[in-house]
Symmetry: C2
């Protein structure tokens, strides 16, 4: 078994915290909020991205309140010990990975929904609330919190905010930042910064709320969020179409966009994904024809609106030469069709371990990305299944490899990087929704260039001059710190 | 006639530019791109907010390209002469007002639509493109650029970006920042910063795009924008309802929100607005009954969807006791009904000069804001008409005063401030869409508090350490610089 990368390539820190700091942390969060047992802290070492480096935390704190977070921040700042904030650890970039001797600050105990205000369509929550719990709580009021990352049944809102998480809903409802009205964030000074507001609109000052969303724990610790909610959508109508070529499926996506249709979900699966799911679920998605690509669309416009939208998509799929098009407004059948999409990653486990990438390309370049991944797959001799959010061009090419072979793991890493280069060459970005973290630092620099990197460093230095929060994650503060 | 405030309370700068800098500016933008005649530059002294201080520019430059902007920025930075960027000057916060001896950089000649890409639903534009021109250009492709500030027939996209402009569409389609994918911005070093991307999603690095949107020219000069477009909406159905009390109209707004309806427009007019428009247009909006409040709603969902939505709003209005409810899906009649709303500000001119405020409150507090404004109106003996975007709580209480009376002007200023205090006390913000500029600096500080102000200053100092761009606008860089 190849162990995930464990060397610490980020930050230079103490490997022991010392009794004084441990005492202060205990005072801050109470004895049951402090974990220092070496075996226990290892459980907080990394998120779900095997490629990212991870060190060994000196301690883990589990604060229950904003005041406790402030006390932890002040104690660590005074001791010069870095803090790595984290939620549930479902991330896919290593942003929440520990560095040696750091204090991991997990917000999972701050899990209260403080308010749901249906008249103003907003909720106020602590960062440790699990995405699914928030969805359920607001649904009782006929409201909807859109961001739905695949891990929604265990990821936390704090992690969603820090990574600006997406999901299947984004094509119609946007990403996390589009649902945030305001934040409370503990700064490196221990001060509490309130940004944004409870109103729908507001332009008083810089948009600091959206600066903190997606900052991956490098600028502060989010301790409260005011979130905008939407009316609960109607039960969706669901369409599935299969295509003999990736190009035909890509043409269908382009036409849906160009004709002004906005389905609430539009997912794509390539042939490798289809085969894995067929095998896993013992079903026939490609109708036995070995179809190259499958599209799944939903419309949640309700009744006749949804049927009209789905029929228009059906017509487009037929026009571009789909092999099979089927749609239903039966809710249970729709759920079953979508289950195939959700089964892709578990299905791939029959081939070994998997490593999922995250590039976003202009919607007209999806077919090019899929065919490029097929070429990379062939060249490396590794199965790469492409599945993704066709409606917004955010693709997740997923590389499978033998976890027992160091050589395959190294090849998988190389293929991962080649997919990023391919995404950039198609006018895309190296991360559509997973983030940079500790796995794509060099790729961020490559994408945004030296001027962009300089601005990142200037903002980080302005808000966190002591490099207290998640040092070396997302980007290195100085060039000499680069690998 | 009371002149608008002219003393310069912001920044300390040279009052003459000197031949060396003028020569460099001429080299940068060409002789016909440089205005230095004292009478001519006065035309670039201020925007449309009479309360904000304005100084006398040393020169005005009208660059035609990003390279020219970079050359101007480098020359001014070397000379230590501040730059005030501006578009058309339609702003309502004084953000574009000159300070003595500055260089005003007007982007109006950079007015090219560089690209419209229907397949990816985006446009790439220069900052001097007029909002209406962009709307027209994309409409030909069946596309829609939502932000529609009242000045849309002459304001520029650059100004819209810098103020994060709103409009009537925001209740359904959001504000300017929700339509921006990427920017090119010239920094204080003269370097060109590219932020964002052409893809729908992307989380590589901090969201610098949304930091620059709404930064009111204090962080750089935007020279290019990549904008997200939407499908062109259907022809709207339009509803008008009148209410005997503000509370009843407020209850209708709350119920529309709570019941999950999302009209594409929901505007409110109080009794003073209704009367002014009735007099101006010689029509009867209150049906002769002296109605206290009028709501105008549109649904652009098309056909049966629009009719269903409008009928649901009709039912709500009836339930809360509307005096009259009328709706139509005739486009021309709908336009005429909306014309009453658009006529409010011109109608108020019969009472003298007007001064429009811009507070945004939670949607449940709209009635409280209107009744509070009535109380302020009575106390100051000044007519205050409240008109605004009920769907998002963004209200524009508009104070009328005798422009020949210094006493009335002073009272109007006091009433303006009292309305801001009222908005804050209702849980709102001091600016929903107009911005802070040079008129609400102290109010920004009051709203965001010392920690928020400190973060603003840190970011400004990080990106513009020489305080080159619009110094003293939005906030003062140091406490001692405060009025």
């Amino acid at each position: 078994m190849v162990e995930p990368t464990t060397e610490t390539t980020v930050g230079q820190v103490n490997t022991t915290l010392g009794d004084h700091l441990l005492g202060e942390l205990r005072d801050a969060v109470g004895a049951n909020g402090l974990l220092a047992d070496p075996d226990v802290v290892l459980g907080y070492q990394r998120d779900m991205m095997p490629l990212a480096p991870a060190g060994t935390p000196g301690a883990v704190v589990l604060p229950s309140s904003t005041e406790q977070v402030q006390a932890v921040v002040r104690a660590c700042a005074a001791a010069g010990v870095p803090i790595v904030p984290r939620g549930a650890g479902s991330g896919l970039s290593g942003a929440a990975n520990a560095i040696d001797g750091c204090v991991v600050l997990a917000t999972t105990r701050m899990n209260h929904i403080l308010e749901v205000d249906p008249d103003n369509r907003l909720a106020v929550v602590e960062p440790g609330v699990v995405n699914r719990d928030l969805r359920g709580a607001v649904e009782k009021h006929g409201l909807f919190y859109p961001p739905d990352p695949s891990s929604y049944d265990w990821c936390t809102i704090g992690g969603n905010l820090s990574t600006n998480a997406g999901g299947l809903c984004c094509v119609k409802y946007g990403v996390t930042t589009d649902s945030v009205l305001g934040l409370e964030t503990v700064l490196a000074t221990g001060e509490l910064l309130r940004t944004g507001r409870r109103t729908v609109k507001g332009v008083a000052g810089y948009d600091l709320t959206k600066l903190f969303v997606g900052s991956e724990g490098t600028l502060g610790v989010i301790t409260q969020a005011t979130l905008a909610l939407r009316p609960l959508p109607q039960a969706p109508a669901t369409l599935v179409a299969t295509f003999g070529s990736t190009a035909a499926a890509g043409a269908a996506v382009s036409r849906v966009v160009r004709e002004g249709l906005v389905p609430s979900l539009m997912e794509i699966m390539d042939q490798a994904s289809i085969r894995a799911v067929e095998q896993h679920l013992s079903t026939e998605l490609g109708a036995g024809t070995g179809s190259a690509t499958l599209l799944i669309c939903q419309s949640d416009g309700g009744g006749e609106t949804a049927r009209r939208e789905i029929r228009a998509i059906e017509q487009i799929c037929t026009d571009v030469g789909a092999e099979l098009v089927h749609w239903t407004d039966d809710l249970e059948e729709g759920r079953m069709l979508l289950a195939a999409r959700r089964a892709v990653l578990p299905s791939l486990e029959i081939y070994g371990a998997w490593l999922t990438d995250d590039v976003c390309v202009p919607r007209t370049r999806i077919a090019d990305l899929i065919s490029g991944c097929a070429e990379i797959s062939e060249r490396y001799g590794l199965l790469i299944a492409v599945v993704g959010h066709a409606g917004d061009g955010n693709m997740h090419p997923t590389i499978t490899y033998d976890p027992g072979s160091e050589r395959e793991f190294a090849k998988a890493h190389q293929a991962f990087d080649e997919i990023l280069a391919l995404g950039l060459s198609l006018g895309g970005t190296v991360t559509g929704e997973h983030g940079v973290g500790k796995v794509k630092r060099e790729w961020l620099a490559r994408e945004i260039g030296p001027v962009g990197l300089g601005v990142h460093r200037a903002i980080k230095a302005a808000l966190d001059p002591g490099n207290l929060f998640n040092p070396g994650s997302m980007f290195a503060l100085y060039d000499e710190d680069k690998d």
